[in-house]
Amino acid sequence: MSESYMIKVEKLNKSFGDLHVLKDIDITVKESDVVCLIGASGSGKSTLLRCLNFLELKDSGNIIFEGEKVEKETHDLNKVREKVGMVFQHFHLFPHMTVLENVMEAPLHVKKLPKDQVKKDAQDLLKKVGLSDKENVYPSKLSGGQKQRVAIARALAMKPDIMLFDEPTSALDPELVGEVLSTMKELALEGMTMVVVTHEMGFAREVADWAVYMHDGRIVEVGHPEDLFNNPKEQRTKNFLDSVL
């Protein structure tokens, strides 16, 4: 039990009306782990990710974050979310703010840190994702890849302990996927704990410590990406991999 896990999910169930989307999910993410969730659309992987930062609330089961069982009745979920960064498929940058303001927004107004420090941190983050020259530009003037890198910087600005990525490259033109993946790769190398819903098998193979295959609301198979991709044990995993690779 002394193993330092970041998030542990036990017997998680979630339904939307009659639709049972997550069925008895068990998953453990250790510190500095990079976990890729793969599976067909509708398999529940995005919902699982959204449960991890409580954008969706579970019906039953436990979510244990940094050793604490988090329940909406006993915990301020906003405080928990401060430590869980999220990057969305469609970026969701704030269009009425410049790139720099987007990155500064949460540290300034949620953490209420002093502006000078927040600004400096934001500039450093933008430098890190290679967008220093775009500080004063509004999001509408950016390419998809640039938007997603700003979104990553915006999430990192809260200094989260874990980053969740919900199909971060699915809305991008093919030629822009690489710049986002390399930013994520860099982050993984720095030791960030990451859970990534992705269709980028190359990224999963190269960067992930674990790949998790989901089907119909259940986790079918978990393994090191090489093993999972090369020698899937389950027929369903094999079928899925045949269809995407």
Partner: protein, 215 residues
């Protein structure tokens, strides 16, 4: 030529009427924006009772003529020693608030759900995300219909003449009846309204342009 001399002869009185029209409109719309925002929040609160309250308010306003509302406010509020000016202003604000509530509700709901989620994912409370993320975008989107409502309110303020306020329209009909020449003064007052509406339209356009500079 005759019309032009009449215009010149009467402009000091008309300008006074225009000032009153202007005051009635500005003050009532200013209050209506707060009323509208309040009821828009009730409508999106997802609390049934609050939604009903908003629905009833909007039903009452939409279901009765403005002139009736103004008279009710006038007789009701002046009985409480509230001035004629303020009873008309509150009547107009009550009326416009309902339409502005619908404008705000629509513009708030038109903002992509992902914006709220992005805010929440950064640790914002729902209230903070509403204030920092949703409302600034919703206001921008509400500007064109809000400007439109403003112009409607400006013209509706002419109904204040029915309770004897010397705003533009009352000035015109008073001159008209005194001089047995309604048509000239109605044409003159139409010009005053057109100029006011034109000025407002230009102002609204400028605000919209400024707000749109980031898109």
């Amino acid at each position: 030529m005759d019309l032009f001399t009449k215009f010149i002869d009467t402009y000091p009185v008309f300008l006074k009427g225009m000032l009153l029209t202007f005051q009635l409109t500005i003050v009532s719309v200013f209050i209506a924006i707060f009323i509208g925002l309040f009821f828009a929040f009730l409508k999106i609160s997802r609390v049934k009772v609050l939604e009903w309250i908003a629905d009833i308010y909007i039903f009452l306003v939409r279901g009765t003529p403005l002139v009736v509302q103004i008279f009710i406010f006038y007789f009701g509020l002046t009985a409480l020693d509230i001035s004629q000016f303020w009873s008309v202003v509150l009547g107009l604000a009550f009326h416009n608030g309902a339409y502005i509530a619908e404008i705000f509700r629509g513009s708030i709901q038109s903002i992509d759900k992902g914006q709220m989620e992005a805010g929440r994912s950064l640790g914002m409370t729902a209230g903070l995300a509403m204030r920092r993320i949703i409302l600034p975008q919703a206001f921008r989107r509400a500007m064109p219909p809000l400007g439109n409502q403003f112009i409607i309110a400006l013209k509706d303020s002419s109904l204040a003449s029915f309770i004897g306020m010397y705003e533009l329209f009352n000035v015109a009909t008073t001159y008209g009846s005194n001089e047995y020449d309604y048509m000239s003064y109605l044409l003159i007052v139409a010009v005053y309204y057109l100029v006011l509406v034109l000025i407002f339209s230009i102002l609204v356009n400028m605000i919209e342009k400024r707000m749109a500079s980031s898109d």
